[in-house]
Subunit: 208 residues, 2 copies
């Protein structure tokens, strides 16, 4: 298909597609003349992935580039998959050193985090920010949060293990993590509402 | 203290503080002359809250304004707290109608979501985006995610119930939700790593 047809198939304007080509997040089409190229279903799929990462995952274009490069050259074994995935999943750069309380929590949970894992720094920063803003995030609450996220991670790993091969598994880990975050954030708000009304019902004595 | 001292106490430059005053996210100080004002610990606290929401919560300044207005006039009873909180917790505006599968999931879970809850639309959009990008988010996985977030929400509600009054509870719900999201996101990545290495150990036969 021509670039105008790719635009129609994806709902993304031609000038944005050309921008994606220039930025290297969309692979070039097969050249058919000096000024035109042919695109196929893989281009449609790529454009949808880029849109989803940008619009729903809030990923910057440089992050999208890292992700698509990683997805087109996944590690040969599942063994290295998580390291390769962790390297491209966008995580805010840590500002401070890792909080010893965070290290203690992971030890208590038996979570062997590679000490260079960017999520360790991100967790320390996020906990410090919440506390500085007056949210009493104590160790017990953090542990309960961790237990909830362990259930989520079990489901994540099952999804990745059900993939047909390392390329598909890599895609599920990276894209499923980035685009799964907003799913979890929305579920948290709905769960708060559900838990809060259940507690309210339990606290209110029944009428006649 | 003077505005220069407020800047020193918070690490936020004077020109940013003046911007916050103009934008209405920082309450005015007590005027001491035509050109200067006196600030106190409540201003320090507010500046820290604004910084945390902007930098760690990724909240736009208009959203910060809604939040600080809500925090300074909390509902008189805990009864209306969650509705008031939900109204100011930033949630992306839904693009499509609520997915019937999402409604079915909430029914199955016994989560009575108010049908106008913005999180319902946000959840539908996020699920659609993940699936469009090739992540096989089936109903079973969503249910497991929901179970994880239910544990998180129980901890959230306990934190709010332990607050000293409605103003403090409102602060914990709103700020704890916004600044808790990055905590959960970081914990998810660490949990994925922990679950993945445990599964790998279990799958590998022990050596001699």
């Amino acid at each position: 298909m021509r670039i105008s047809e790719l635009a129609e198939a994806t709902g993304v304007p031609v000038h944005t597609l050309k921008f994606y080509l220039r930025e290297g997040v969309l692979q070039p089409g097969r050249a058919t003349s000096r000024t035109s190229a042919d695109y196929d279903d893989e281009h449609v799929e790529r454009v949808r992935l880029v849109r989803a990462l940008v619009e729903h995952g809030g990923v910057a274009l440089s992050g999208v580039r890292d992700i698509v490069v990683a997805l087109t050259s996944p590690p040969p074994s599942r063994h290295d998959l998580l390291g390769a995935a962790a390297a491209v999943i966008p995580t805010p750069a840590p500002r401070e050193a890792v909080d010893p309380e965070v290290t203690a929590l992971l030890e208590e949970l038996g979570w062997c985090a590679w000490s260079g894992a960017p999520a360790l720094g991100a967790l320390s920063d996020a906990v410090a920010a919440a506390r500085a803003a007056g949210v009493p995030l104590d160790a017990g609450t953090l542990r309960r949060y961790a237990e909830g996220m362990a259930l989520v991670a079990e489901a994540d790993v099952d999804l990745a293990l059900a993939a047909r091969g390392p390329a598909e598994a890599m895609r599920i880990v990276v894209v499923g993590t980035v685009l799964g975050d907003p799913v979890l954030v929305a579920l948290r708000r709905l769960a708060q509402e559900a838990v809060s009304s259940r507690r309210q019902r339990e606290a209110t004595p029944e009428g006649p």
